[in-house]
């Protein structure tokens, strides 16, 4: 029994303490959080724009008069549909590698490319969440806004989007949690994120148990922590439901 404990202890020292190997994990965690945070920000901006185009297109296009407005909205709506289909229909690792090795082949800033690739990926999922949020807002809100002389964009910005976001905030926070785990494939494009850090240590110490379990634990703690925050947020939102 004590020999097993001793073994674990020496494994721990070998993988985390010796040669300050814990630094890999800390810097890897920093990279993971940075990618996730900025990717989610890109995703929310991109996703909201796509959601506005998609929900507007679906609602207005059938009854719209022929003219430049209809053509513009039709093209935008079509492009958004293609974007959603392609991004949601291919694995994120492939998207990441295409970004790194083809689209941004001239840059070797892996973290930045990962942020962009995950941001574009997340945008597609956020778009569907926000679209559901926009559709959950009563149509009378748009009419009331327009009847007061607000433009379509103003009505969206002041009246529809704030209510839509409030309705889907828990789902958006969930998207952040999902993305946090998805970024673990960033190592494919030479990014030293948390997963890659564990892999590097495993490769140097030739012991898999400690680094991989350690990394898994860190992800798990993060996810449990953020899920707890989301739950708190949900309760707050419900309480402030006027």
């Amino acid at each position: 029994m004590s020999s097993a404990l001793d073994n674990l202890k020496s494994q721990f020292i070998l993988n985390f303490v010796e040669k300050d190997r814990w630094r890999y994990f800390v810097s890897g965690l920093g990279v993971t959080l940075r990618i996730t945070l900025f990717a989610v920000l890109i995703g929310i901006v991109l996703g909201t724009l796509v959601a506005i185009v998609r929900s507007t297109g679906d609602k207005l296009l059938p009854g719209m008069r022929k003219g430049p407005g209809r053509i513009f909205l039709g093209i935008a709506n079509g492009l958004c549909k293609i974007y959603l289909t392609v991004i949601r229909g291919t694995p994120v690792v492939i998207q990441l590698m295409i970004s790194y090795y083809i689209i941004f082949a001239s840059s070797r800033n892996g973290v930045l490319i990962a942020i962009i690739a995950f941001g574009i990926n997340s945008g597609a999922y956020v778009a569907e969440i926000v679209r559901a949020g926009i559709m959950s807002v009563d149509n009378g809100q748009m009419e009331a806004g327009r009847s007061l002389g607000f433009t379509f964009v103003q009505t969206m910005a002041y009246i529809i989007i704030p209510q839509a976001f409030k309705n889907v905030l828990p789902s958006l926070a969930n998207e952040f949690i999902v993305l946090l785990k998805e970024t673990s494939v960033a190592g494919y494009v030479a990014v030293r994120d948390l997963t890659k850090a564990g892999d590097i240590v495993r490769g140097t110490t030739y012991s898999a148990f400690m680094p991989l379990i350690g990394v898994a634990l860190v992800y798990l703690i993060l996810v449990v922590f953020f899920s707890w925050l989301v739950g708190k947020l949900e309760r707050r939102l419900r309480a402030s439901d006027h």
Partner: protein
């Protein structure tokens, strides 16, 4: 004012809205619904026009075409000398001058009553925030709801919501007010308070177009009643003429069902 001395023709005074051959077709999955089949109307400044008719007659569509919440399929709407159906017309600027009140109130639930009222005039730079608040508070006082300024819409009754919705529209100092069945979604005991606000507004000389089922209101307040059926104005006249001596068969049928 003696109601039975009013006449429909001639419509004297400054023309505010003139509608010519207004048409609206909806494309549904199977067929084309012709909600408006050529409506002509002239509304003069200060006039109170009440539009009545069975459901599906096109009266709400007619009203909603006046500020182009519904895009007309054909015909023209001249507001203050400008054709607002033309593509060059900036409808957003026109709508600032036409207040609208909805059946379902459509207050903004994420804003306080005061923000509901002041945001539009402030964002349009028609007033400073302080001016807008002053105006909002005096309007709220007029409808007896000044203590609700900081409340959220969900904390109000239906009648209160609708009075706030009227104030919200009035805060833009509109030249005409459009009412789309303003009391139809209210509990019976709250209809009176909303109608009273509308009566006060009428007495102040506001130009009003009202789609309603409140025949008492139509009789008491309107200058002219238009009866719509099947996308057309079938009959119009003073309330006296329409309610006591309707000429058209369909008007007679409709009114007899109400009594």
């Amino acid at each position: 004012m003696i109601t039975n001395q009013k006449t429909v023709e001639p419509a004297t005074g400054e023309v505010m809205i003139s509608v010519h051959n207004l048409q609206k077709h909806f494309l549904s999955a199977k067929s084309e619904v012709r909600a408006l089949r050529g409506v002509d109307q002239t509304i003069v400044k200060g006039e109170k026009l009440v539009v009545i008719g069975p459901s599906g007659s096109g009266k709400s569509t007619f009203l909603r075409c006046l500020n182009r919440l519904e895009e007309p399929t054909g015909g023209t709407i001249i507001f203050d000398g400008v054709d607002i159906t033309s593509p060059e017309c900036n409808i957003n600027l026109v709508r600032r001058r036409m207040g609208m009140v909805f059946q379902q109130f459509n207050l903004f639930p994420h804003w306080t009553v005061l923000d509901n009222i002041t945001t539009a005039p402030v964002k349009h730079r028609l007033m400073t925030r302080a001016e807008a608040v002053d105006k909002a508070m005096s309007l709220l006082k007029r409808v007896g709801l000044e203590e609700k300024a900081k409340s959220y819409p969900s904390q109000l009754s239906g009648g209160q919501k609708q009075r706030i919705a009227i104030v919200r529209a009035l805060a833009m100092s509109p030249e005409v007010m459009l009412f789309d069945e303003p009391t139809s979604a209210l509990d019976p005991e709250m209809v009176g308070e909303v109608l009273q606000v509308m009566k006060d507004l009428a007495e102040d000389g506001m130009t009003m177009v009202v789609v309603t089922h409140e025949m008492g209101f139509a009789r008491e307040v309107s200058d002219r009643v238009a009866f719509m059926d099947d996308g057309l104005i079938v009959e119009e006249g003073t309330p006296q003429q329409i309610f006591t001596n309707p000429q058209n068969k369909r008007t007679q049928d409709f009114l007899s069902k109400l009594l």
